[in-house]
């Protein structure tokens, strides 16, 4: 063993000797060089931002991309005649010289770092500046990539926007290479997938002299572009719906009823996401101050009275509970008295005797109030919860849960709830999930929109929840929905199309504003093998049988086209 101890000792001293040799090399041989680097603090990091990942729709159409813009900057260490440069830029870029000087003083950091004085100049101005640059040492036109949304404000609520990180956020983002001047996702998918989209910024480490002028490059890390995100969204369908809304505020969600993929998610009015990138605060201010709340996503965050679309659930629950059959006939005299209160049907003359199918087609209030009384609050509430009302749908972005009453209701209140009035609020997204459940024979799907990140499909979550309704019940209600559109007297007849079979249900919800109603349409198409389920809401937009039904028809005709989706 002793021989081995000796060898171990030799190895130990050789290893320590090697360390001393290295120390001597660093400190004694190269010491002066390192001393200079340290003393004069002569290393600088020059960041190179990474291009943000693209967001594309299901067919690869660009939803969010990057665009080259031209910035005008001044490099302090090369500057010879500051006033002349300012004068020149001012003349070409149409900015007052004082503003340029202020900007320069604010942005100026290190002698070799270009200080941006104009953050955006059109291409022709950039070219003219570049042509004359040789006469003005220190002037620099630098191309830079910024986020660009080719569709303008299309799908803005879903995509979200970018803005500069706040002082509080910065410490948490710093390890990822985010600097104050970088942009981070603020809302929507830009925020949800910020880490994937962001990529990894690169940079140069340069050695500089005592006047901070670059002497040489010591190391470089190339920036890594962010990952491309592929959505299930269909961009033409999205803009088709947006155009159909026009200036009418509202929301719309179109789902693939089998998978829960979001094919379109519309919220009107919208906003241009690019407005938040630049320093143009007046646009942002006007968006924030707009009383129509264009920043709110009406498809997921807005909560609305459902009105008669809720009757689909009342009907299903009543069939399940056997309080009615498809053949049960009830008369509608135009009003119903419960206790000492009189409730009117929307048709004051009365609909006469009605079966379930007739009641759905005509959206008879008296019929459903009577059904609601037979059903009772407990069973009605359970059914509403089963289709997902007052629950999160599982949507990965911000959403509201809506509301169902959790107190005891009077008989009259229960009757009102059964026809979709009173203490109930739902989101458009919940409406679409409900429509999808009728389309796919009783499965409540979880809506999702991101298909692929970096060309790798996400582990698809087949998360569906079975609603405990029998196939017979669903068939009866589906037939009723088809009749709503097919029947010339149906409230949803405007959704009828000779090109595709549409099923649906309208809703016209009374609001706290007298005479103002929210218009709803929920439905799916084609009836036999549904490829799209949707909910359309027109905020204070009158009857659901008008604009919402027409939008639904456009959606269905688009979806039915052989080359669509």
């Amino acid at each position: 063993m002793t021989a081995r101890f000796v060898r171990l000792q030799v190895i130990l001293f050789l290893a320590l000797g090697l360390l001393v040799v290295r120390l001597a090399h660093l400190q004694l041989v190269r010491g002066a060089y390192y001393r200079r680097l340290a003393e004069q603090n002569r290393l600088r990091l020059v960041p190179e931002p990474a291009p943000r990942g693209l967001i594309v729709d299901r067919r690869g159409r660009l939803l969010a991309s990057n665009q080259t813009v031209f910035r005008v900057a001044i490099v302090p260490q090369e500057l010879e005649d500051f006033p002349a440069v300012i004068q020149h830029v001012s003349a070409l870029a149409h900015r007052p010289p004082d503003a340029l000087k202020r900007e320069y003083r604010r942005e100026r950091s290190l002698a070799f770092m270009p200080a941006t004085v104009v953050s955006y100049v059109p291409k022709d101005v950039a070219i003219r500046l570049e042509e004359t640059r040789w006469k003005f040492p220190g002037l620099l036109v630098k191309p830079e990539t910024v986020r660009h949304y080719p569709g303008g404000s299309s799908a803005a609520h879903l995509l979200g926007y970018l803005s500069q990180p706040t002082a509080e956020e910065l410490p948490a983002l710093k390890p990822y290479g985010v600097r104050p001047q970088h942009l981070v996702g603020r809302t929507g998918l830009e925020r949800l997938l910020d880490q994937e989209l962001r990529g990894r910024p690169g940079g140069l480490m340069v050695e500089v002299d005592h006047r901070a002028r670059q002497v040489r490059v010591i190391g470089r890390r190339a920036p890594e572009a962010g990952a491309q995100v592929t959505l299930a969204l269909d961009a033409p369908l999205q803009s088709l719906i947006e155009q159909a809304f026009g200036t009418q505020p509202g929301g719309c969600v179109v789902l693939d009823p089998e998978t829960g993929e979001v094919l379109a998610m519309v919220s009107v009015p919208a906003f241009p996401p690019e407005a938040f990138i630049g320093p143009n605060t007046s646009v942002v201010r006007s968006l924030l101050d707009d009383p129509r709340a264009p920043l709110m996503n009406r498809a997921t965050v807005g909560v609305y009275l459902p009105g008669s679309i809720l009757k689909l659930v009342t009907a299903s629950a009543a069939l399940e509970a056997h309080v009615i059959t498809p053949a049960t006939t009830m008369g509608c005299p135009g009003s119903l008295t419960i206790g000492d209160r009189v409730f009117h049907c929307w048709n004051l003359d009365g609909h006469g005797p009605m079966t379930l199918r007739d009641a759905l087609v005509q959206s008879c209030n008296v019929y459903f109030m009577q059904v609601g009384r037979r059903l009772g609050l407990k069973r009605l509430r359970a059914a509403l919860e089963a289709v997902g009302f007052s629950r999160r749908t599982g949507w990965p972005l911000e959403e509201q849960r809506g509301h169902l009453p959790d107190r005891h209701l009077t008989e009259g209140e229960v009757a009102m709830l059964a026809m979709g009035q009173g203490e109930v609020l739902v989101t458009v997204l919940q409406g679409a999930v409900m429509a999808a459940a009728f389309a796919n024979h009783g499965w409540a799907v979880e809506p999702w929109v991101v298909r692929e990140i970096d060309h790798r499909p996400l582990p698809r979550r087949p998360s569906r929840r079975r609603i405990p309704w029998s196939p017979e019940t669903l068939e009866v209600v589906r037939a009723g929905m088809e009749a709503v559109v097919q029947d010339p007297n149906g409230t949803g007849h405007r959704a009828f199309s000779p090109l595709v079979s549409v099923a649906g249900k309208t809703g016209t919800a009374q609001t706290h504003l007298p005479g103002k109603t929210h218009g709803w349409f929920v439905g799916f198409c084609p009836v036999d093998h549904p490829r799209a389920a949707m909910a359309v809401l027109a905020e204070y937009g009158g009857s659901g049988g008008d604009l919402p039904a027409e939008i639904a028809r456009s959606v269905c005709e688009y979806v039915a086209a052989p080359e669509a989706l």
Partner: protein
């Protein structure tokens, strides 16, 4: 060599002097390294040194046989602590290395080194020479269970220490040179597979070791700045509390894994070479004591301690000078960290106890 009973009760002067000087110098460097960030850390570091020193005196009074008998239990307990940690440990710095007991954070991987060395010493001492293949396999298993648990934390640096300990001890127990060349060859062959098992940041570190200038902002930044710090120390250093790299926070992790670059910057070649020399003194003396012991268990134990501390010293100092890849290994007796400090002092206490008992026999 016969020592009088009186002096045998006392510590081995060389070991104590070397270890105490290292801890003292480390403490001074720590004050400078932490002053800008959190001066409290310096005070806490001093507490750990005092606690470690006191504990080493307690351990030195124990009979080494008692310690050796408890090897299996101690090993089992520390392995369970590591397993528990993997399951439910607090996540810090992206790695689960600390176990919180009554508000105190413990790093079981540190104690694991000591218990593994003890178990290996006990096991290998009972084996015939030349070492049978079965004993090689069993001892490898003893070292690789904790190594694997620590690798999963993930802590590549600490896991690799168990490799060094195993190699040192098996070689000392009579493993044939052919065995080690065989292992080295098969490791080389397995390298591509191992590459896949590494985390991205660990791969980055290895790549950056090959060329630190490839990533000046990330992992390479640390090495570049550390090398500049050490080099700028020149002969006598820039003075205590006067290193610009240190004081201006250019050095990341400078109170833990990169403490040596503070020493190099502020005390220059004189100071840093002295620290290396003190380690040489400590480890050389430990090997010398080991050689004098008649009990094979004790000899193997001290060989293991030497392999452990020697490896950490070489890898840590080599790392901050850009000689070896950046793996998170603390500098014994100097880097900040209570678990590490206490474990090293306990090991030194056991060394003393072994030496003392030998004389009594």
């Amino acid at each position: 060599m016969r020592l009088s009973l009186r002096s045998s009760r006392a510590w081995d002067g060389t070991v104590l002097a070397a270890a105490a000087s290292l801890a003292f110098l480390g403490g001074l460097a720590m004050c400078s390294a932490t002053s800008a960030v959190n001066p409290q850390l310096g005070l806490r570091h001093a507490t750990w040194i005092a606690l470690g020193l006191a504990l080493s005196f307690v351990v030195a009074r124990l009979s080494p046989q008692r310690w050796m008998d408890a090897a299996g239990v101690a090993y089992g307990l520390t392995v369970s602590a590591l397993a528990l940690l993997l399951g439910a440990g607090a996540v810090r710095l992206g790695a689960t290395r600390w176990l919180s007991v009554f508000g105190l954070s413990l790093q079981p991987s540190e104690l694991m080194k000591l218990t593994t060395i003890t178990l290996l010493a006990r096991y290998l001492a009972g084996q015939p020479r030349p070492l049978p293949l079965r004993a090689v396999g069993v001892s490898l298993l003893m070292a690789s269970v904790p190594a694997l648990l620590i690798f999963l934390q993930p802590d590549l640096g600490s896991a690799s220490i168990f490799g060094a300990i195993w190699v040192g001890m098996v070689w000392m127990a009579g493993g044939s040179p052919r065995l080690f060349t065989g292992i080295a060859a098969s490791l080389l062959a397995l390298l591509p597979i191992g590459w896949h098992l590494l985390h991205d940041y660990q791969r980055d570190r290895l790549l950056v070791f090959v060329n630190p200038h490839a990533d000046p902002l990330g992992a390479g930044y640390t090495i570049i700045q550390s090398v500049i710090a050490i080099g700028s120390g020149q002969w006598l250093g820039r003075g205590w509390f006067a290193g610009t790299q240190n004081q201006l926070s250019f050095l990341p992790e400078r109170h833990s894994d990169f403490i040596f670059s503070v020493i190099g910057e502020e005390w220059g070649f004189a100071g840093s070479a002295a620290v290396v020399a003190l380690f040489g003194m400590l480890l050389g003396r430990t090997l010398h004591i080991a050689r004098e012991l008649s009990d094979p268990q004790g000899r193997l134990f001290l060989a293991g301690i030497c392999a452990w501390l020697g490896y950490q010293v070489f890898v840590n100092i080599g790392m901050v000078m850009g000689l070896v890849p950046v793996v998170g290994v603390p500098l014994p007796l100097i880097s900040y960290g209570g678990s590490s400090m206490i474990t090293v002092w306990m090991a030194l206490g056991l060394l003393q106890s072994l030496r003392r008992w030998e004389v009594h026999e």
